[in-house]
């Protein structure tokens, strides 16, 4: 009975899973395998395609590439950190301070900007920030500025745009992890003589660590792989690594080089996340729960 029974009871599961697995395989795994194959092919002197790793070596040979990557990774880390700094108090306020009946409403308020596409959101920011934009208009009107200044197209504007874009992905895991924090732990710490700072540092952050880690991974990956925001809000002479990949595919038509960069992005960002998890003593299986 046992093996047969198990096999038959699992059959419906397989029937339901098959379309999903097929979909995953055809749309995600297959193209990636092809990209991976492509990244190891180069055109030799006779115009024939041969196997080689020189697409990957190119990344380390040309400083412009690895410098762009380093810059991108650093900014993604900064964005992740800033997003965390903003989201922690927000999540704390919604779960612990706000009256319970407003909690749903506040979470909804947080979700609302994400009902419109990223492109529209970014254009919204651009209308606010550009030289002839709303903020400049009022600053000049009130005499704070003599003449409008360009607030767009620099790293600060880009960072802000990225933080804004990724906020939700940090707040949502933090909300659930904060919700599971027993209020009496905070009170007990207070009772034992803590001030607000030690409560945050010793109780709230250690408890929220799985949420912080999963939120940070998502925000880091999304920022690193973001194309729209750095392109529209960032400085013209400072490149984001995705733009390099885009350039290879679209501008240089070098799909082999482009896919090699794509995989490098995947491997290097995974490596950074791995190091990050190690440094904070987190386990991936716990984080993705």
């Amino acid at each position: 009975m046992s093996t047969l029974g198990k096999a038959t009871s699992k059959l419906p599961l397989f029937i339901f899973l098959t379309p999903i697995l097929l979909w995953l395989f055809l749309l995600i795994v297959l193209p990636h395998i092809d990209l991976l194959r492509m990244s190891f092919r180069i055109e030799n002197d006779y115009g024939d395609m041969v196997w080689s790793v020189s697409n990957y070596l190119e990344f380390f040979r040309e400083p412009i590439y690895w410098l762009t990557f380093t810059r991108t990774a650093l900014y993604a880390i900064i964005v992740t950190f800033l997003t965390l700094c903003i989201s922690l108090p927000v999540a704390f306020y919604i779960t612990k301070v706000a009256p319970p009946k407003f909690r749903g409403f506040l979470s909804l308020l947080l979700l609302m900007p994400f009902w419109v596409s990223e492109l529209v959101r970014i254009y919204g920011w651009m209308i606010l920030l550009r030289e002839s934009g709303v903020i400049n208009h009022f600053l000049v009107e009130w005499g704070i500025l003599q003449q409008p200044v360009e607030m767009l197209y620099n790293d600060v504007a880009m960072t802000m745009g990225l933080v804004y874009t990724s906020m939700l992905f940090m707040v949502v895991p933090l909300l659930s992890v904060m919700d599971s924090l027993d209020d009496s732990l905070i009170e007990a710490a207070f009772d034992l003589g803590s001030n607000m700072f030690t409560i945050v540092w010793k109780i709230i952050i250690p408890h929220a660590m799985p949420g912080i880690a999963s939120g940070s991974i998502v925000v880091f990956m999304l920022s690193l792989g973001n194309y729209l925001t750095p392109n529209l809000m960032g400085g013209k002479n400072a490149l984001w690594f995705t733009e390099q990949i885009y350039n290879q595919f679209i501008a240089s038509f070098n799909w082999n080089q482009g896919s090699a960069f794509g995989f490098l992005l995947l491997v290097l960002s995974s490596l950074i996340i791995f190091i990050g998890l190690r440094l904070t003593n987190q386990k991936l299986s716990k984080v993705v729960q």
């Binding site: 027993d182 007990a188 710490a189 009772d191 003589g193």
Partner: protein, 361 residues
């Protein structure tokens, strides 16, 4: 005697709901003071006001004669043991216990020494490195107590700390906690809905009902001289016989039940004829098949409806026309009453001085 905690006319209202209503009491240094009341009567609210988590709506709280108004919980010389303990799951036992000491900036070696001393005290020597979720219920209990005691508070507040334990462990912890309190000499304010906990451990017990204190007394007095029908019902088992006062003179009164029996009561309480009253008789005050010659004995003929065998605490449930509820009678296990069985008609009696009679308002 030095007074460690003094609560003066404290009230707490949540919107229109009064959770604590004009409560006053004092606790002397080194005493074990319990607040006993059914769940929802405002015990936790009162304790949280003493700890500083809630502001009294009215009244004042003094600790060692110092007014606690506007002093936040982290600056009060009291510590609270929470109903669900609130141990920090992200820290080990030593870090939990050392948490408060570290907040006082004591040195690492000092903390380590104090932690190991207090662990010794609560019978958990060498538990420093254990994780909280590896501890049993009773061990968590002790860690929670150690975490507060190590700070040497003026008053230690305990919010039903034994509630989560199983019966056997609760009995054991009751005795241990009382011993610990006598050893360290810290003033304890202990709240519970379990009358046996309150009676066993306390020097003084306050019985609380719907936000008010009904009586503050020693456990013995609470049991033998309850000040109100509520206390009589809540502390220990009791049998209630309602009726009307029909005669009263000079320390004796007579109560007539709805079924017509006249019961003699010896009491100091002033009972005016004509008022409705309730007479309370303890199960152990009832004598089974009393001898005929005993004077001043109230007698009832009753029908045995069940025998609740529980070793030394075996009890009889009997029906009598004098009461709507079944009466509870202790059945001594000395084989003298072995012949009694269900559906028997027997005579019971009690001394006129045994009961407590309260006129109804």
């Amino acid at each position: 005697m030095e007074v460690d905690l003094s609560v003066k006319s404290v009230s707490k209202r949540f919107k229109s709901f009064v959770a604590v209503d004009d409560v006053s009491f004092e606790v002397e240094k080194g005493k074990f003071f319990s607040i006993l009341g059914p769940s929802g009567c405002g015990k936790t609210t009162l304790l949280r006001m003493i700890a500083g988590f809630e502001e009294p709506s009215k009244g004042a709280i003094y600790i060692r004669a110092q007014n606690m108004a506007n002093i936040s919980p982290n600056r009060r010389p009291v510590n609270l043991i929470f109903q669900h303990l609130a141990l920090f799951p992200m820290m080990n036992v030593a870090d939990n216990i050392g948490f408060g000491l570290a907040r006082r900036n004591e040195s690492k070696t000092e903390i380590r020494k104090k932690v190991s001393d207090i662990l010794e005290r609560v019978n958990l020597p060498g538990f420093e490195a254990k994780k909280i979720h590896h501890l049993s219920g009773g061990q968590k209990q002790r860690v929670a107590i150690a975490r507060s005691l190590v700070l040497d508070p003026t008053v230690l507040l305990l919010d039903e700390p034994l509630g989560a334990l199983d019966l056997k462990l609760r009995e054991q912890m009751k005795i241990e906690l009382k011993k610990l309190q006598m050893e360290v000499g810290t003033t304890f304010v202990y709240i519970t809905h379990d009358q046996s906990e309150a009676l066993v451990m306390s020097d003084h017990v306050a019985v609380m009902n719907e936000g008010r204190f009904e009586q503050i007394d020693s456990p013995q007095n609470l049991y033998t001289k309850p000040a109100s029908p509520f206390v009589a019902r809540f502390v220990g088992d009791n049998n209630r016989l309602p009726g009307k006062i029909v005669g009263c003179n000079d320390g004796t009164a007579e109560l007539q039940t709805a079924s017509g029996e006249k019961l003699l009561i010896r009491t100091d309480r002033q009972l005016t004829p004509g008022v409705q009253a309730e007479l309370y008789i303890r199960p152990e005050s009832v004598i089974l098949e009393p001898a005929q010659e005993l004077p001043e004995l109230n007698r009832l003929n009753v029908l045995v409806s069940s025998i609740l065998f529980d070793g030394a605490n075996t009890q009889l449930l009997v029906e009598s026309p004098a009461s709507d509820d079944e009466l509870l009678i202790s059945l001594p296990q000395n084989r003298q009453y072995e012949h009694i069985s269900v559906k028997d008609r027997i005579e019971i009696g009690w001394d006129a001085r045994a009961g407590n009679c309260f006129p109804l308002p």
